[in-house]
Symmetry: C2
Subunit: 245 residues, 2 copies
């Protein structure tokens, strides 16, 4: 009965996305440290919506037009000209509730734009804080899925592959998976799942070192925690909003 | 003292090679199933040299000019118009000794050409049958290294990542490795090393299924065996020859 199941592929880098049939697939944008963790958190805490944009100048422009909160990072730090950064801790309920966040990030928003340009049927965002929401949705919809890792400047990274593996380990029974990247991701996740932070540290993850260097251990730990902001962000008409079922 | 060590990166797909500083690096071409296993084997069994070419028509043309043995595959089978395929078992000593092999393969020769075009300082080929020769050389030369996986039509594959991990697990002490792909490859290898064939089978490696479908279990098992053809193929003046020390 395997051939009646929809396919699932993992694209480990935006530079590999063109290898997969994005058109009409559900694409999960994965940028664990920290864009998609922050997106889930801001929406969970009541943000009206999040407008992802691909450049700092456009972020500033749109922020002015709609009186939104401009936020984003380049190379892991608050981008020049923007007011807020990419940390989930910047968006507690008493600050973000009812507001619109205009967000630009190094890798995540660029991948989202690519998926959009390639005709993705649906675009959602995933990270450990909303793992269950992502898995429940993918298991239910019975459509082809591409897990799209945002990576780091197109280089494969550990945390996005770990999240892809977490999704696969939970929902693989619903899909036909002929994709070594997916099987590798699952293997890595199974090895790491008991202590994701410890695994990143022990295996010298580049992003672990980059963020630790900025004093952001708290951010890393939060972004690797499961279901702390368990909503499903979906991209509609230029905005990320919580998907209602 | 880490910063005095040369760097090592792993490129998991030819589509990612441009992210690394190929120029003046030693590039290891990795195409475990089966090109680089066959290259090591043919040279170990006494082939004079191997001329890797990127197309079947060029393979036929050069084969005629030099009276070489034309060989190659497309999609895992002997390519139309060529006499031999890509199995290491086609090149025993009593057949190949003293002869020139003109070889074209789906992924391996294309990656070699890319590394050449990008100005690699040295190009060698690696696979489990010549693991120790590759590791001994890389540990000795003290130059930047890129482990280049040939993958499958640019999609990351299990066996090439496993070989990269095997190399890294042996020689990482000689290099500065700030590369998640490398750390992930090593983790995967450590998980698999006791039974590489079993790991490929259990984790549904796409190439495992493709070659098993052609009845080539023997080839898979041979290509995952360590040091059975332990020579170092190096690319010089358009040919792969055994590097003499």
């Amino acid at each position: 009965m395997n051939n009646t199941k929809p396919t699932l592929f993992t694209s480990l880098s935006p530079a590999l996305l063109h290898l997969y049939d994005v058109n009409n697939s559900v694409v999960v944008i994965i940028d664990v440290l920290r864009a998609t963790s922050t997106i889930a958190t801001a929406l969970y805490n009541g943000a009206k919506c999040i407008i992802p944009v691909d450049s700092v100048s456009r972020c500033i422009e749109i922020g002015k037009q709609i009186e939104g909160i401009t936020a984003g990072e380049r190379d892991g730090k608050v981008a020049e000209g923007l007011v807020h950064g990419n940390s989930p801790f910047e968006y507690p309920k008493d600050f973000i509730e009812g507001k619109t966040l205009v967000l630009t990030t190094t890798n995540g928003t660029r991948l989202l734009q690519m998926a959009l340009d390639k005709g993705a049927g649906e675009i959602i965002t995933g990270s450990f804080p909303n793992l269950s929401a992502v898995c429940d949705h993918l298991a239910a919809i019975k459509q082809p899925v591409i897990l799209g890792c945002a990576a780091w400047k197109d280089r494969v990274n550990m945390e996005d592959m770990l999240f892809a593996g977490a999704v696969i380990s939970r929902i693989k029974g619903h899909f036909s998976i002929n994709c070594d990247s997916s099987h590798l991701a699952e293997t890595i996740y199974k090895k790491a799942e008991k202590d994701l932070f410890g695994f990143m540290k022990k295996n010298d993850a580049s992003h672990y070192h980059r963020l630790m260097g900025f004093g952001l251990e708290k951010d890393i730990r939060y972004c690797l925690e499961i279901d702390t902001a368990n909503v499903l962000p979906v991209y509609r008409d230029g905005k990320l909003v919580i998907k209602e079922f």
